[in-house]
Symmetry: C2
Subunit: 346 residues, 2 copies
């Protein structure tokens, strides 16, 4: 029984009318936001000793997301997560956001309002002000270009390049769930491609869908680090998979790493679906990507403080550059990490 | 005689390799740039009393530009102009830039290097640091999403909303040239559509092509205002055409305006081509758009200082909101301004 939904064509509102409609209800609340939507540029005034951090991310329909199973509301939430996750990875808190849309006439005004509802929820949850953006026609699918601004005290900014020998490698959350969520959605799409009233089977795997469709940015972790006065030596967010992202830290910091397979957290649903689909959950964890968890290093001396946070697992430690980057299995085998795929060395 | 050009496929370099290749040779030079390319986010530290301004712009092949006649090097330059023009319109000087690309396999690495060469020239001329960006595959044409950051002393920031009654309306450069340049390119494209060795006729109209293909941002005007300690009461950059952009100022400032037709500067080539193509040069000037000149207001008392700049024409003045926005012809007729098209009132 399908609901008859109202459909307003974008052309009816025009470019300015559409932007007004989409951004209504977004009121700037951060002290650093001097001007928001409605002028040529947004104005941001950082506090005493603070730097402004800036990152951009683009998302293309058919490349980065599939609208046949991606609810627009979740998509709005997820792109905010992906954008601000890069700021969190520098130990900064997000404060402002701009959203540029390329839209085809395929989408109605109501559909775009759904998208913006997801953006609004993410902004509210993480105290981010929407300060600008525009819409243009796209000849094909939906394109989103987000710019996120964040603030941090200069001396608290964390780069990828600061990891030191013996540092502990810390990880928030668990890995591979988003990747398995995507596998599940793709499987149901294939299976139900020719079915008239498709009823996809997601029971028991709700957590995986949530991790793929609506991942949360780890603002809580950066806030906790700030509260406990802990400054990591290096940090990155997990967008390309643990192996690839850890290797980025090692490359920037000119060091090696050992991570221990039995310390890498994998959720029960991730393992269960991997088994059902005859996939290796470790591959999902190492190379899945889109986890948006944080991977960071701290000096060995901070082990106790870090464990007290209750938010991270210590999964390994930093070694000299000459020793390379390896995953150590419970029986002591060392598997060389690769950015894509991995291979055994002995 | 066509030169055989080298063609490297994007797939051969991969995403990281491509970004490294494109951004090599961009070295940050501004004191406010604490980190540039190569980490999760760029870090900007404004000077004492300065705010950070941020604006984003997207450009879609087939909507915003046509690669059949738009040289990639000029396109690179032009998108930087369009992006930073919004910062200049707030009386800020551009300082940092990020560029996100959506690219189809149609373009080679060498073609993208041409694009970046144009971006590099614009950045060098206007002292802008490239601090980030990414590339993704686009299912269709080329997509560019730019974010520009700029700096200004808080008390020197100019909004659209500050115009006061009796203020002078000032304009840099001349209008309609970019629009006529586009008409010329479109005409030659139509005429030569089926010709095997097309030789487009641009003689005598080189200025119009330059204004459309490689418009320069008016950094010089903002610098001159700073030097002369002049702070406009309102400002906007001319991207949608004089009529539409002036009406944006009037709407934000709750005022009316009178501009005088014989004061609106139109270049000789603009009039000549308009005559040749049976178009009205005034329509091109009022509604052409993409001029990237600056339109601003100053108190009547500053007339002498403003004229001393040697960079602007005074084309009219601000009136009460109730009197509306009109163009006054030499014989005293008043023509009501409209965002699109215009009509006579008496």
């Amino acid at each position: 029984m399908e609901e008859q939904k109202k459909r307003t064509e974008i052309a009816r509102l025009g470019q300015f009318g559409l932007i007004d409609r989409l951004t209504s209800g977004f009121e700037p609340r951060n002290a650093s936001t001097l001007s928001g939507v409605g002028d040529d540029a947004a104005v941001v005034v950082p506090g005493e000793g603070e730097a402004v951090l800036c990152t951009t991310d683009s998302f293309y329909e058919g490349v980065d997301f599939d609208l046949t199973y991606f609810p627009l509301r979740h998509l709005g939430y997820k792109v905010v997560t992906a954008a601000v996750s890069d700021l969190l990875a520098m130990n900064a808190l997000p404060s402002q956001l701009t959203v540029s849309l390329g839209v085809s006439s395929k989408l109605s005004v109501e559909a775009l309002q759904e998208l913006y509802e997801g953006i609004r929820v993410a902004c509210e949850e993480h105290r981010i002000d929407l300060v600008g953006g525009d819409t243009r026609s796209s000849m094909t699918g939906l394109v989103l270009a987000l710019t996120a601004l964040g603030l941090a005290q200069k001396e608290r900014i964390v780069r990828r390049s600061g990891a030191q020998q013996h540092d502990l490698i810390c990880l928030t959350g668990n890995l591979g769930a988003a990747f398995m969520g995507l596998q599940l959605l793709e499987r149901e799409k294939r299976v139900l491609a020719d079915v008239e009233h498709p009823e996809p089977q997601f029971e028991g795997y709700e957590y995986l869908l949530e991790k793929y469709l609506k991942p949360r940015p780890r603002t809580d972790v950066v806030e906790a680090l700030r509260e406990e006065k802990i400054v990591p030596t290096a940090m990155i967010d997990l967008s390309d998979g643990l192996a690839s992202d850890l290797m980025q830290i090692c490359k920037s910091s000119d060091c090696g790493a050992r991570i221990y397979l039995d310390r890498v957290p994998i959720a029960r649903q991730t393992s269960a679906l991997a088994e059902e689909m005859h996939l290796d959950p470790v591959v999902a964890a190492l190379h899945g990507g889109e986890d948006y968890e944080l991977l960071f290093t701290v000096p060995l001396s901070m082990q106790e403080e870090i464990m007290r946070l209750g938010l991270v697992d210590v999964i390994g430690h930093i070694t000299p550059a000459s020793t390379g980057c390896y995953l150590v299995t419970p029986d002591g085998q060392e598997i060389k990490l690769k950015a894509q795929g991995f291979q055994q060395t002995n």
